[in-house]
C-alpha cells in the first residue's frame, strides 16, 4: 500500500487515467493514511472513502486535504475558531469546486491558526498541529495542518491560504513546496475572509510539478469574486532544465545576520546551485521592504477587524449571553468565541481605524505598501526573480514564541513584502539545517518571487532548481519512520 502513497500527484493521476491504478483503491489508501493522523493535522475527515470511480479530468481520482478556511457544503467549516464550531456552510468555495471539477476529491479539512492568524498553528481553538519532522516543534502557520498533512504522508497534496506567508512559511518548516499565486489568480469566493486585500489561496505539494497541476485547476476568473482575474494563458507542467539567461536578485537589504546560521548556509548553497545551472546572481534594492512588517500589521488587522464584525451570534455560529440585551449578547458571544490572537488583532485593527488614528496608521501603511510594490517593479526591471530564505529559522519549538506576539510577527519578515505587493512567490525545500539550539536537522525553505502573473515562469525556474537540489527525491518521510528518526537529506 505504501507504494501508491509514494507516487506524486502527477504520477498517480497519469496512472489512474491510464487505468493502471484504481481511483477507488488510491483514495482508500489515502483515507486510511489520513485516519492515522497523530499530528492533529485534520479537523475533519470524510466518512466514506466514497465509491471513487474513474473520474475524468487532470486531477481525476486525486484526494486533496483542504484548509478548514474554505467553505464546503455538507462538511463542517470552523476556520480553526470556536465561534464557528458546528457551522455547516450552505455553499462550497470556488477553489474547492474547481478542484472537484478537475476530478479531485476532498479527503478532509485541515487544522489552522484561528481565522488564519498565526505563524505556528498554535492559535487553533482545536489544539496545535505537530511538525512531522519533530513533534516537539511547530509546523508553521497558518496553513500548518495542510503542510503537516503533506509532509507527514497524510495527504498527497493540500490547499492552503496565504495572507502574509501562511502557505510559504509552513511549507518551508515542513520541507514541502508551497506556492502563493498573484493576488487575483484564484477566486476567494467561499474562502473565509481575514484580510481581503491580501488573502490568496494556493497549493502545498511534494514537488513543483504537482503545484503546477493544482494551480492549473485552481486559477481562473469567477463571477462570484470580482477581484479574480485568472492567469492569462493558463498553467502547464514545467519542464525547464537549466536557468541560463535568468537573473536572480538577492535584496541588498537582506538582513543576513537576522537569519540563523544554518538557514544562511543552505541559502548561500542554493545561490551556488542557481549559478551552476547557468543562472546569474545579482543584488537588487528593496529599500522599503524593511517596513513590510509594520505596514502589514496595520493593514491586515484593520481589514480583519472589519471582516470579523460578522461573527456576532445572529445568523450563524456560536451565540452566548442571549439572556441579556442585544449588546450583551454580541459582547459575550465574541469574547467567548474568539481566541487571544484574534482578539489582539481585532483590537489592533479597530484602534488603527478609529477616529484620529486612521491617517497615521492605515493611511500611512497603504502608502508604504505602494512604495514596496514600486521597489519590486524596479527590481524586476533588472532581474527575473527576487530570492530570499522563506523563514529566518527552521521550525521552532512548541510554546517557544507564544508569549511574545511581536517575535512571532517578525517571523514573517521575508514573506510579507510579496503579499503587500500582490506578487507570486514559492517556497522550495532547499536542504536541511540544525536548529540554533541544537538537535536533529530540519528543512529549510528557499523563496523565489516573480512579477505579477508570471507563475509559469516561476514554476519553470523552480522546477529546474528542484531537480538540482534533489530534496524531494532524497528527503525521508520522517513521519513514516517514527518520531525523531530523521535520515540524512541532501
Amino acid at each position: 500500500m505504501a507504494g501508491v502513497l509514494d507516487l506524486s500527484v502527477a504520477e498517480a493521476a497519469a496512472r489512474i487515467a491510464a487505468t493502471e491504478l484504481s481511483a477507488a483503491e488510491y483514495f482508500a489508501a489515502w483515507h486510511e493514511a489520513a485516519l492515522g493522523d497523530e499530528l492533529n493535522a485534520y479537523l475533519f475527515q470524510v466518512d466514506h472513502p466514497a465509491a471513487q470511480q474513474a473520474i475524468d479530468g487532470p486531477l481525476g481520482g486525486i484526494p486533496v486535504a483542504v484548509k478548514d478556511i474554505f467553505t464546503t457544503a455538507g462538511s463542517p467549516t470552523t476556520a480553526g475558531s470556536r465561534i464557528l464550531e458546528g457551522y455547516q456552510p450552505p455553499y462550497t468555495a470556488t477553489a474547492v469546486r474547481r478542484l472537484d471539477a478537475a476530478g479531485a476529491r476532498v479527503l478532509g479539512k485541515t487544522n489552522m491558526d484561528e481565522f488564519a492568524m498565526g505563524s505556528s498553528n498554535e492559535n487553533s481553538a482545536y489544539g496545535p498541529v505537530l511538525n512531522p519532522w519533530d513533534r516537539g516543534r511547530v509546523p508553521g502557520g497558518s496553513s500548518g495542518g495542510s503542510a503537516a498533512a503533506v509532509a507527514g504522508g497524510l495527504a498527497p497534496c493540500a490547499l492552503g491560504t496565504d495572507t502574509g506567508g501562511s502557505i510559504r512559511q509552513p511549507a518551508s518548516l515542513c520541507g514541502i513546496v508551497g506556492l502563493k499565486p498573484t493576488y487575483g489568480a484564484i477566486s476567494r469566493y467561499g474562502m473565509i475572509a481575514f484580510a481581503s486585500s491580501l488573502d490568496q489561496c494556493g497549493p502545498l505539494t511534494r514537488d513543483v510539478t504537482d503545484a503546477a497541476l493544482l494551480l492549473a485547476a485552481l486559477e481562473g476568473r469567477d463571477s462570484c469574486d470580482s477581484t479574480s482575474v485568472g492567469i492569462e494563458g493558463g498553467i502547464v507542467a514545467p519542464s525547464r532544465e537549466d536557468l541560463s539567461g535568468l537573473r536572480f536578485g538577492v535584496p541588498r537589504e537582506l538582513a543576513r545576520d537576522a537569519v540563523d546560521a544554518g538557514v544562511r548556509e543552505v541559502f548561500e548553497a542554493t545561490l551556488k546551485r542557481i549559478e551552476g545551472l547557468g543562472g546569474e546572481i545579482t543584488e537588487v534594492g528593496l529599500p522599503n521592504a524593511e517596513h513590510g512588517i509594520s505596514a502589514y500589521y496595520v493593514i491586515a488587522p484593520a481589514e480583519a477587524s472589519s471582516n470579523l464584525a460578522r461573527y456576532d451570534g445572529v445568523r450563524y455560529g456560536m451565540r452566548a449571553g442571549g439572556d441579556g440585551d442585544l449588546l450583551e449578547m454580541y459582547e459575550t458571544t465574541r469574547s467567548q468565541g474568539f481566541g487571544d490572537e484574534v482578539k489582539r488583532r481585532i483590537m489592533l485593527g479597530t484602534y488603527a481605524l478609529s477616529s484620529g488614528y486612521y491617517d497615521a496608521y492605515y493611511g500611512q501603511a497603504q502608502k508604504v505598501r505602494t512604495r514596496i510594490a514600486e521597489d519590486f517593479r524596479a527590481a524586476f526591471a533588472e532581474v527575473d526573480f527576487v530570492v530570499t530564505p522563506t523563514s529566518p529559522s527552521v521550525a521552532f519549538g512548541l510554546g517557544e514564541k507564544t508569549d511574545d506576539p511581536l517575535a512571532m510577527y517578525l517571523n514573517d519578515f521575508f514573506t510579507v513584502p510579496m503579499s503587500l505587493a500582490g506578487i507570486p512567490a514559492i517556497s522550495l525545500p532547499a536542504g536541511l539545517a540544525a536548529p540554533e539550539g541544537g538537535g536533529p536537522q530540519l528543512p529549510v525553505g528557499f523563496q523565489i518571487a516573480a512579477p505579477a502573473f508570471a507563475e509559469q515562469k516561476l514554476l519553470e525556474a523552480s522546477f529546474a532548481l528542484e531537480q538540482a537540489v534533489g530534496f524531494a527525491a532524497s528527503a525521508p518521510v520522517p513521519y513514516l519512520m517514527g518520531n525523531g528518526e530523521v535520515g540524512a537529506g541532501d
Binding site: 455547516q88 450552505p90 470580482s226 477581484t227 517596513h291 500589521y297 477587524s305 489592533l348 496608521y361 500611512q364
Partner: protein, 96 residues
C-alpha cells in the same frame, strides 16, 4: 503607550468584553506592537498614492439577470435562534 482607558474604549468599539487581566495584558502587548509599527510614522510619504488594491481593475460588471439565491430555509439553517422565518435576537433594550 496605550493605557487602560484606551483599551476599554477600543474593546467597546470592537464589541469585545475583556477581563481586568486581559485589559492589562492587552495594553502591554498592543503598546509593544505599536511601538514597532510606529516606525513607519516617521517616513516622509507626502504625495505617495495609497494602495488599497494591487491589481488594476475597474468596474467589474456582470449581466443584470436574476439568478437563484439561497433559499430562506437554507439561510436560516445555521441560525442560533430562528423564528418565523427570521433571525431572533435579544431586545436592544432589555430591562435587565
Amino acid at each position: 503607550m496605550i493605557d487602560r482607558e484606551q483599551v476599554l474604549h477600543v474593546a467597546r468599539l470592537a464589541r469585545l468584553r475583556l477581563s481586568d487581566q486581559e485589559v492589562e495584558k492587552m495594553a502591554g502587548e498592543l503598546s509593544g506592537i505599536l511601538e514597532h509599527v510606529d516606525r513607519i510614522g516617521s517616513l516622509d510619504l507626502e504625495g505617495v498614492e495609497p494602495t488599497s488594491h494591487v491589481v488594476a481593475l475597474e468596474n467589474v460588471w456582470r449581466a443584470d439577470e436574476p439568478r437563484p439565491s439561497l433559499p430562506q430555509a437554507v439561510a436560516l439553517a445555521n441560525a442560533p435562534e430562528p423564528q418565523d422565518g427570521a433571525f431572533r435576537v435579544p431586545s436592544p433594550q432589555a430591562d435587565a
